[in-house]
């Protein structure tokens, strides 16, 4: 990316920001679906009961912790791949 000019950098930057926003919205809705699915299956009450609230809290927390860990490993792998190209090339 070092060969991009300043205006190109800016253009790319703004595209990336829009992309990140979209990415975040996708993550959010996916997480809502997942935690709702995992935690809520009792419809005898109108609002979340304590057990469900707790489950949702843990679900989100765990998702964050898990994706952080995956992110770390992902970066490590990515760095490793760049240092040693795969065989057959």
């Amino acid at each position: 990316m070092d060969s991009l000019s300043a205006s190109e950098q800016r253009e790319l930057q703004s595209r990336m920001e829009r992309k990140q926003m979209k990415e975040f919205m996708g993550m959010f809705s996916g997480l809502v679906t997942h935690c709702f699915d995992s935690c809520v299956d009792d419809f005898t009450t109108k609002s979340l009961v304590q057990r469900e609230t707790g489950c949702v809290t843990r679900c989100v927390k765990k998702f964050m912790a898990g994706s952080e860990r995956i992110g770390t490993r992902f970066q490590e792998q990515q760095a490793q791949m760049m240092n040693q190209p795969p065989p057959g090339r």
Binding site: M1, D2, S3, L4, S5, E8, E11, L12, R15, M16, K19, E23, C35, D37, S38, C39, C55, T57, R58, C59, K61, K62, F63, A65, G66, S67, R69, I70, G71, R73, F74, Q77, Q78, M81, M82, P85, P86, P87, G88, R89
Partner: protein, 99 residues
């Protein structure tokens, strides 16, 4: 770094360069999302009795990530071999593993 995929076309235009960078970003984001979906599904039980990733789950995530990349490499390798066997000279066009 000069673009992780080394798109080495001579004198690409401005929009081409931006598109290439963007595509690279998309590919990496997509890969990460796939990895995350796969390993969360396999390693994190849906019961949510605790909010932390426990030791076993953490180790599972580590191994899952490593294996996911292994599979990626293997598939890329096999596809390249296939393409090379079939098309001879013009194989290796899809270098996901070639970062």
């Amino acid at each position: 770094m000069s673009g992780m995929f080394g798109f080495g076309r001579p004198q690409p235009s401005s929009s081409e360069k931006i598109a290439a960078a963007e595509q690279e970003m998309d590919l990496i984001t997509d890969m990460f999302n796939k990895l995350q979906q796969a390993c969360m599904k396999k390693c994190i039980p849906k019961t949510y009795l605790e909010g932390e990733v426990n030791k076993g789950e953490g180790v599972c995530i580590d191994r899952c990530t490593a294996k996911f990349f292994d599979v990626q490499m293997k598939v890329s390798e096999l596809l390249q071999a296939e393409a090379a066997a079939k098309g001879g000279a013009q194989g290796g066009g899809f270098g996901i593993g070639g970062m």
